[in-house]
Symmetry: C2
Subunit: 467 residues, 2 copies
């Protein structure tokens, strides 16, 4: 069965498509550019939602929901914003059997409709800060799509906050970037490079854009999440003012931050192997599976009793499946759960039972034998060790493929031959730099990483090929 | 402040609008027919989602997500279905700056796109039952809208399941109807009338439609949730076949069931009063609020310490707020939390502290004094009693306004004068009955209630004015 997945070495893009198909994460739909999230894939998005929603609430945010249709005229209120998004829009021209007077845009992002409401809701400094998040579907017309990474309709969350001054808004911008960073590192086991986008790569309408960038197994970059400081640009376009403590009218300072279902693409591409999906335990909807290996023609009731008890105990603390389907061989089951990325497999056969042990196989191949009575006690350590091992492997990949490079010509050759991340000198005055990168190397600046920019005047920019 | 809410007696529709505005549940949007869910309103939807999602998973369902755009030709595949929905559709004609070859419908419901995928996924009896739910936004172009109850875009969940035979599918249909019933009764404290829709009122494309109907304070009916048995109609339209155990090709038997954000409208209209929103504890995002009443110019540290400790203890078990905002009087705070429907208010002033007691005010006016040290222990009983009291009040309203009536002329007069629910004799052969009801009484058949139809040949149908 494993050969149904194209090896990474042979064709990385096909490998990615095969992993998704075999793990039943997603399927192509009859609608151009749109994918179907199958239950296994949607369960990953539920993990993302559950963790982030909790963090957003802990940091004082509340959820709301705004209309997905935006009057065309709204999009035009902020100049850079409309230039950035208008070419990607889906347009509703008819409703209820009639042509509409004003066409409606299906939201590519919700700044304009949300800010129109904020202008109504905010009057006084007492109404600030306003900290709202929305979980929603958005549409951006894409020509070349790839499951999870780039689809015409996708799912995301968008935070939109208003503050009394720049300092507080900047603090929020960076705080939420760090929420994303810790989510990627601690839950998805994916190391990140946080930094600021160059002016050429910032969000349409933002003053400053920050992102976390991750490296996938093919050494390409993926922008995993962004957090923007808007200043007062949208506030001025939508007249969002408040009366401050001195009775003066002021514009609010705003932030926006978002993370989408492409995070699942990052997760798949970071850890998976030629056998299929690999999931870190904290991101796995199912953390362990128990598979009994009955002996043909024998009385297997003791095996069945033992795995049932084990399942009951483990289910108190973990998401644990017991696979007792009939008509499927243990080998078939091993393969199926492996393809779907379940971190731990617990096997129990007649010989194991005689010896009072279980065989535990970690998704990366690592095998352990444990006394049956120790399994429940040892499981947290096994899961934790696997989580750390996956992070370590990804961190080593990132570190060993990130290069400081001062010579542009040598960088071009190395990028082409080896791929990877390059920290090049950054000169904000060199306006043609990013255009040359795109034309000559099919690469882009990813961000000005926080950690490589300690000395003003000697800044470095992260450059890579990307998704 | 209370007079900002129009009394129910004076104008029920305006009262409903005022409660929503004052409790900050929703706001009108600049988009025709679409509303904004403000954080207080969305929090109610989160309660609905949390409870139902858990129940759906406990009953074996998994979530998935399908594209919101449906090619126009798909809608045409099931005849009754397209006739039912085509007039309400929003149509995307342009995407990415170009006119589309085939217009896309924004989903009014997802049968067609989901069944197109099911035809791909289902091959064998081993793939059954397929039990999938989707949380999504849907669009039905509405001429007259009302927040939560009827909006062009709304939020809902739609379950779509496939089964090997009719018996299993019917069991599923009724099981999910009962999940809704128990949610309404046990969580929202709203009694229901479950039953079967008449052929004239069933879902476009279904064989049988079941609903739960609820009575609002103005004695009108609201269809609170529906569950449909589809038979093999969509399976035939979309060629969803499986090989059974004998190797024969069979069509699957299907069900669909859904509940939307109109459930929040039912919640508001069932319990609220002229002071604002009233929420049963199990449906309340905030179950209790603690409001200290400091003495002006005095040292209030002991009051503040006491309420802090109480808040810490109560927060371990309940969603509890401590309102220590400065610059707002206790009276202002009382009113604000009351308007927002918080079930229990705990007050502590200097005199209370001296006597070692708290005053606890239930949202329906019921007052208790408790020793401070008993508050944590007594809170579950107070919440439980309030939950039951609200259900009881709503049940009495339903029972005392439901009438068995055999005389059609007398029914017409009574419906006009008193309103309420009427159980009329049901003759399935009388094809003009429902048309007459609409024209002569502006009423509709709601359902054939399970409990009034024990004797074949003597069936009764529930008739009422409705939302």
């Amino acid at each position: 069965m494993a050969e149904r997945i194209t090896p990474r070495e042979k064709d990385f893009a096909q490998w990615y498509a095969d992993v998704i198909a075999q793990a039943k994460l997603a399927d192509f739909s009859p609608v151009r550019g749109c994918m179907v999230f199958r239950p296994n894939g949607y369960a990953l998005w539920e993990v993302v939602q559950k963790y982030l929603d909790k963090r957003f609430k802990e940091t004082g945010h509340r959820n709301a929901y705004f209309p997905m249709f935006i009057p065309e005229s709204f999009l035009n209120k902020e100049k850079e914003h409309v230039e950035g998004f208008a070419p990607e829009c889906a347009v509703v021209t008819h409703g209820g059997g009639k042509k509409l007077e004003e066409p409606l845009i299906v939201r590519p992002t919700s700044e304009t409709i949300i800010n129109a409401m904020y202008a109504k809701w905010i009057q006084s400094y007492r109404d600030l800060p306003l900290l709202i998040n929305q979980w929603a579907n958005v549409v951006r017309w894409e020509m070349r799509t790839r499951p999870f990474l780039r689809t015409t309709e996708f799912l995301w969350q968008e935070g939109h906050t208003c503050h009394a001054d720049e300092e507080e808004a900047m603090k929020e911008t960076l705080k939420m970037l760090d929420v994303y960073r810790s989510f990627f590192e601690d839950v998805l086991a994916i190391p990140t490079v946080p930094g600021e986008k160059t002016p050429g790569e910032k969000f349409a309408g933002a003053e400053k854009t920050y992102s976390i960038e991750v490296m996938l197994q093919d050494k390409k970059a993926l922008q995993a999440a962004t957090s923007h400081y808007f200043g007062t640009r949208f506030a001025k376009a939508f007249e969002i003012k408040f009366q401050d403590k001195e009775g003066k009218q002021q514009y609010v300072h705003q932030t926006t931050w978002g993370l989408s279902t492409r995070s699942i693409g990052a997760l798949i591409m970071t850890h998976s192997d030629d056998q299929g999906l690999v999931l870190p335990p904290k991101a796995a909807p199912t953390q362990c599976v128990i598979i009994p290996i009955p002996k043909k023609g024998a009385d297997n009731s003791e095996i069945m009793n033992t795995v049932s008890k084990l399942h009951e105990e483990l289910s108190k603390h973990y998401s644990c499946e017991l696979d007792v389907r009939e008509g499927y061989s243990p080998g078939y089951k091993f393969n199926e759960w492996e393809t779907q990325g379940v971190p731990l497999r617990i096997e129990l056969g007649p010989r194991d039972l005689e010896q009072g042990v279980c065989t535990i196989k970690r998704r990366d191949g690592h095998k352990t034998q444990l006394k049956i009575e120790d399994v429940v006690k040892e499981t947290p350590h096994l899961l934790d060790a696997f989580q750390k091992a996956l992070y370590k492997r990804a961190k080593e990949r990132l570190d060993s493929n990130t290069f400081v490079e001062d010579d542009y010509e040598r960088f071009k050759v190395r990028l082409e031959e080896e791929g990877g991340f390059y920290l090049l000198p950054y000169d904000p005055e060199d306006k043609g730099f990013e255009k040359r990168l795109k034309e000559e190397c099919k690469a882009t600046t990813r961000c000005l990483p926080f950690h490589t920019n300690p000395i003003p005047g000697k800044r470095r920019v992260l450059v890579a090929k990307s998704y």
